[in-house]
Amino acid sequence: MVARVFPLGRSGAGAQTGTVIATPQARPGTLVVVDDHARFREAVGERLAAAGWRIVGEAATGAAAIDLVARLTPDVVLLDVVLPDMDGFAVADRLAAAGSTSVVVLTSGHERSDFAGRVLAAPVRGFLPKEMISGPALATLLAGDQL
């Protein structure tokens, strides 16, 4: 299983609200988590759900992520850079080229400097090291402050 769409009722919302235009925001909205490690997706999901985010979908590969984001149009995509089929930068480029309105935040077990200047050049909001993922950190990043 590479992609999963949660039942809409899971986090209590009545209707899909992914149509909200993604603008810099501090308020939690809908989220898709893309990472090839199931255990990590689970941990991130729990942590951000606790912070008020609604995890509407998960994907383990770049291709599944592109498909899922097109269907669900989440407010935010938390995207791992190292994926089995293509890297996170390529996924971000493809999403941008497809006209996606979802805000992309890159994450990785590597440090930001391991990707040199590519984070700045990519169509993403920013980069969040995996161990630093938390509701407040994501909110700060989305509010416009690069971490």
Binding site: H37, R39, G109, D114, F115, A116, E131
Partner: protein, 595 residues
């Protein structure tokens, strides 16, 4: 150097040649006295007669002489037999014309010289006809001469058509139409079969090469000229020529026919000359030792520039070339292999032009002269092969080491690190929840915070470990970005000038570790105020330099860290050099091939 084969003894050879000379002289006298037309057309002065007679004697004796000499030379007994047969038939034939009852048979048998000449050209110098086509053309020529010619000369009345006094033994046909048909068929057959013969001989010449061609050239050219002349002779038969033109034409054809034995003798002299090549070879081997020199000397002694020498390697039970690389002694088409052994053990295989097999004696002499040099060259080639093998295995070991480091780094990142990261998020969440619940045990909150810190530290250490094994930034972004990271971490200002190009992974990894170690040394020992890293590549090579303005005087081997790196650079076929004059800073330079 006379042949050692049991064959024609010297006295028999001299007798045969002398006999042919005497026979031809008698014939010349008879022809003159009989007033044969083409003699009569020459002014009857004694000098002219003597000159012409001498010439005719030489002509008539030439085939026998050439044949006998060739027969005595080794491996040309077939050619010698055929040529002697042509000479004998030619001589007997011309004398037989004086016996009227023999004239029809003389006319018949005399033409056998044509297929004999064809057989000589096709079987020279090897004894065998090579293709079915050659056998078919030759057989057709024999049938034409023996069957059709026999019917025409023996059973059709020649007296009706030639002004010669002939007496037939059998009742003969007096029908001009029959004669004309036979005559026309004969001329057409000669032209067609002669054309085919030209093509076949030309093809043989084309396929020969090297010294063989040099020795065989004269006979083939003479043969081609003779066949061409005989074809023209038959074409001109359709045209009415005046007697003078006719005589001139047959004189020219005769002279061209004479070129065949002369050419054969020239070829034999050339083969004999090539034997002095062995003497030259001994000198050349002395001057140019080593596998390449030996090959060159053998190639020029055998006159085969494409000669290949494959040396036997007893350790690996395989053949290697002069460069130490594996070689295949299997000869391609048109080439042959000759084995050389010393004391019963295989030494080398020469892959040469297959025409050289016709000069077995030369080949044997050359091999005998070169055996000792070949033995030395084989040892050298074996050494080069072993060195090559060691070099290749060293490169493989270094490559395997780099691959292993990359694999371990990836496993750490994908395995333990991902689990720790997930765990850190979970514990952080526990910590959050404890902080948010008012009645929580403060010790529990403290423990959770401390676990959070421990996990962060573990993740950091794991990340450092991975970076030391193989930096992710190098894999992801290449040398330029990876060195930027190193420069940023260095305790002194480091400027970098590195092109953003990508290089093969082992070249990038090796140069990265060289730069990393060099910058660490600068920080530890150089007392420098600044350092500079440059890397420039041109597709074939990558040259990196780390330069500082410190105290210099670094050991030439650069300490244990750099020695290990110098080995790795060398394993990739590159060089690491350290320049460090006291007080003049230190420059470490690695130059690596990127192929």
């Amino acid at each position: 150097m006379s042949g050692s084969r049991p064959g024609l003894p010297r006295w028999a050879a001299i007798a045969a040649i002398a006999g042919a000379g005497v026979f031809a002289a008698v014939d010349a006298v008879l022809e003159h006295r009989a007033g044969v037309p083409w003699y009569s057309s020459i002014p009857d002065a004694l000098v002219g007669w003597a000159f012409i007679t001498g010439g005719v004697v030489a002509f008539r004796a030439a085939y026998v002489t050439g044949g006998v000499v060739a027969f005595r030379a080794r491996r040309l007994d077939r050619t010698g037999t055929l040529m002697t047969a042509i000479g004998v038939i030619w001589n007997l034939d011309s004398v037989a014309f004086y016996v009227h009852a023999l004239v029809p048979y003389a006319a018949w048998v005399g033409n056998v010289t044509a297929p004999l000449l064809a057989q000589l050209l096709l079987s020279y110098p090897s004894r065998a006809l090579r293709s079915r086509l050659e056998r078919v053309v030759l057989a057709a020529l024999y049938v034409q001469v023996l069957v059709v010619g026999g019917v025409r000369d023996v059973f059709v009345n020649l007296h009706d058509y030639y002004a010669c006094p002939c007496v037939h033994s059998f009742p003969t046909v007096h029908n001009p139409a029959v004669f004309r048909v036979l005559e026309t068929e004969t001329r057409i057959a000669y032209v067609v079969l002669g054309g085919a013969l030209l093509a076949l001989v030309f093809r043989r010449w084309q396929r020969s090469s090297g010294p063989a061609r040099r020795a065989l050239n004269p006979l083939w050219f003479a043969g081609l000229a003779t066949v061409t002349a005989l074809i023209l002779d038959n074409v001109l038969g359709f045209v009415r020529l005046t007697p003078v033109q006719n005589n001139a034409e047959s004189a020219v054809v005769t002279v061209i026919r004479l070129s065949v034995p002369v050419a054969l003798l020239i070829g034999l002299v050339r083969i004999r000359q090539s034997r002095s090549a062995v003497a030259d070879l001994v000198l050349a081997l002395d001057r140019a030792p080593g596998p390449a020199g030996v090959r060159q000397a053998l190639a020029s002694a055998l006159g085969d520039p494409g000669l290949a020498v494959c040396y036997w390697e007893p350790d690996t039970r395989s053949f290697v070339g002069a460069d130490g690389r594996p070689a295949d002694p299997e000869p391609p088409p048109g080439r042959a292999a000759t084995g050389v052994s010393a004391d019963g053990a295989p030494l080398a295989v020469l892959v040469h032009d297959s025409e050289l097999l016709e000069q077995r004696q030369l080949l044997d002499a050359v091999v005998a002269a070169a055996r000792l040099a070949l033995e030395n060259a084989r040892l050298q080639a074996a050494l080069v092969a072993q060195l090559e093998e060691v070099r290749a295995s060293r490169a493989r070991i270094v490559q395997a080491g780099l691959d292993e480091r990359r694999r371990v780094e990836r496993d750490l990142h994908d395995g333990a690190q991902q689990r720790l990261l997930a765990l850190s998020l979970t514990i952080a969440m526990i910590s959050d929840k404890l902080a948010a619940s008012p009645g929580a045990d403060p010790d529990l909150t403290k423990l959770a915070d401390s676990a959070c810190g421990e996990i962060s530290a573990a993740i950091g250490e794991l990340r450092e470990l991975g970076r030391g094994l193989h930096p992710a930034v190098l894999t992801n972004e290449g040398l330029a970005a990876a060195v930027e990271t190193l420069a940023a971490l260095a305790p002194l200002p480091v400027t970098t000038r590195i092109s953003p190009a990508r290089y093969p992974p082992d070249v990038e990894a090796t140069t990265y570790f060289v730069i990393s170690e060099a910058l660490a040394n600068v920080a530890r020992h150089a007392r420098a105020s600044r350092a500079e890293v440059t890397a420039c590549g041109d597709g074939d090579r990558l040259v990196v330099e780390v330069r500082d303005d410190g105290i210099g005087g670094a050991p030439a081997r650069g300490g244990s860290g750099l020695t290990g790196l110098a080995d790795r650079v060398a394993a990739l076929g590159g060089r690491l050099t350290i320049t460090s004059p006291p007080g003049g800073g230190t420059t470490i330079r690695a130059d690596l091939p990127c192929a």
